[in-house]
Subunit: 392 residues, 2 copies
């Protein structure tokens, strides 16, 4: 049996069609897009077309799309660049407790340099309460950064509503849409955000390429200093093949979005319902319905997530205990702690992130494996023994 | 006839062998290297092997190699990161007048934030005089950044000697080796630099991937904040395929270096000698021999470089007037001004950067085209008419 890959929130395989689109830009159309001669203009045209494709899907202007080397770069640029560019107005930044580290650590960086950061709490499902945002606003608030959808528990935030609160006060709003883009419909004009971050490899484009959307007129300092690429806003020769792959991947994802999400939601709900029935002492993390179609996150009491992952790996299943970026770390997920899980339960968590290549047969295999493994791990747990005794 | 590409200093085609090495990492081995399961560990192993290959060729430790999204990011990280990390010791930075904009603009950024920057002059060939560096040192100097080889005129700096001056005073030394890597032999241990920047697409690897070498123990702040990638030093999912391509491209370049450089030096010298003989009122920019094997840079009096480029383009020749990053800009090259060229002569400059795919037949075709085009452009110049009258 082939291995089962259910860690699509960590990264995705690049689609065959995407690779095919990229290939000519390595060996044939390799000109530097900043050059005046034919090869350069050819590449520049392809970059511009990619920009138009992405802008069209996200409903913004092509000139508002800036290519970066990653989602992390987009987040760092947006947050650090906007904070410094608007420092004269104030030094207060608002974010949420469950952001990706690319956002939280950028905020930490600023906090060490004289900025004040408020991390909004979330409810038990991971949702930011708009009232909390209103109450956190201060006269010196210059930036709010709240993610569109969470990478661990899949919770989707009410970005439009949160952003409206910011706009009422004339405060910049950034959203890390790395997990959402290509997976749920995003309309930038409707959301009305000032900045939005994307990462290609989360939707079947290659690693090493991202986007920062910057609304025209937004004050944000450059983050990469050098050549005049990206209208003098982001220096460094563009990752041409990567950008072209990203545009193609987003185009395909957008076409297939509705149908795929129906499929994934069914698969997800089947998984959640079956596990909830078959495995005692488990808890679904995140909201039951207001979550990414491909996200499943469970905590199993009385077991260690790390052991669970390793045993799933032996069974040929690739899953995650949370964010890939913190795997190997011994600290429990800040997201799970923020939704109120005690340390010991947060430790026993599992993220299954599915995509269109996954099947119901695979879900059944994972569920069966889970039942066996969870039982086996619990049998080894003295704590679980106590529980069983207590139950008698 | 096929087009002739002689702008290899701007960017290079990706080698077929390199693309072949990269391909499996898009669709087959796509695991996130931070993940614990088989697919992740597989990718991590491949990343580590790439790191070892690069470290072996450059003569440093694998743990001193940090992957970035571009040469620009590597330069920005080194300069801004080291400046802030060593701010307590002083705020003076020394660079040269002919650095790439990724270095100069990073210095400008710091200058606006309380740092003091000295830009060392260069001689008529573009060489930094070690005595000038000695004289520029101050008690508060914390960083020196001087490029290994210049991107416009190909001049190779005496990095080992310059670095020794820094080391004597315990000052950090960074070199932008973007143009040098894969083109001339670099031995980091011998150079003794603390930081060194590389860009893949300058040596037949793809665009969008680079390296910052950081000597163990060097104090430099992180530039990308987020996940724990690259031993907690550079956040963001690694561009796995790009890194693997870069290592393979560098491996191949290193194997072929000596033979290729003999070939290129011959071709370059043939071009320089022939043009010098055939076209009056021209000037070779940069040093006659102490230059990159593939670099040719001429100024032709009484003509505009932009028109020259366009007419070469029509003849099927892709060349450059200097750095691709500033093409389209009306300002004459800061490099050519720094070596003492008056504005009007700097404007009439042409960079031909050759690589192993270029042939003697191509050189002859370019030279013949140049002779015709330069003559035609001069025939249109009232200034040149004056000169001819004066000559009579």
């Amino acid at each position: 049996m082939n291995r089962i890959y259910v860690d699509n929130a960590a990264t995705t395989p690049v689609r065959k069609e995407v690779v095919d689109k990229m290939l000519p830009y390595y060996t044939e159309f390799y000109g530097n897009p900043s050059a005046v001669y034919a090869e350069g203009q050819q590449t520049k045209k392809a970059l511009d077309e990619a920009r138009e494709t992405i802008a069209g899907i996200l409903n913004c202007q092509p000139k508002e799309i800036f290519f970066t080397g990653s989602g992390t770069e987009a987040d760092n640029w947006a947050i650090i660049g906007a904070a410094y560019a608007n420092k004269a107005k104030g030094n207060h930044i608002i974010t949420s407790a469950i952001e990706h580290h690319a956002v939280l650590h950028a905020c930490d960086y600023l906090e060490k340099r004289g900025f004040e950061v408020t991390k909004l709490p979330v409810d038990e499902y991971g949702i930011v309460n708009p009232e909390d945002l209103k109450n956190a606003l201060k006269d010196n608030t210059v930036l709010i950064t709240i993610m569109t959808a969470n990478n661990e528990i899949g919770t989707i935030q009410p970005i439009k509503e949160l952003c409206a609160i910011a706009k009422e006060k004339g405060i910049l709003f950034h959203t890390d849409a790395v997990q959402a883009t290509g997976h749920i419909k995003l309309d930038i004009k409707d959301l009305n955000v000032d900045m939005l971050s994307i990462s290609g490899h989360k939707f079947n484009a290659p690693k090493g390429v991202g986007v920062l959307y910057i609304k025209t007129g937004t004050r944000v300092h450059n983050y990469m200093h050098g050549g005049g690429q990206e209208r003098n806003r982001r220096a460094g020769t563009e990752n041409v093949a990567g950008v072209i792959g990203m545009a193609e991947a987003l185009r395909l994802a957008d076409i297939e979005l509705e149908e795929k999400n129906k499929y994934l939601t069914n698969l997800r709900d089947y998984f959640i319902d079956t596990v909830s029935k078959k495995i005692p002492y488990c808890r679904l993390n995140g909201h039951r319905t207001n979550r990414l179609p491909g996200n499943i996150n469970f905590s199993f009491q009385y077991i260690e997530g790390e052991s669970l992952l390793l045993m799933l790996d032996i069974k040929g299943i690739s899953a995650s205990s949370g964010s890939a970026c913190t795997s190997g770390a011994l600290d429990p997920s800040h997201v799970l702690l923020a939704i109120g899980l005690p340390h010991e339960i947060a430790h026993g968590s599992l993220r299954i992130s599915i995509d269109s290549q996954n099947t119901k047969e695979e879900m059944d295999y994972i569920i069966d494996s889970l039942v066996t493994i969870v039982q086996r791990l619990r049998d080894m747990s003295p704590l679980y023994e106590e529980v069983l005794k207590g139950d008698k």
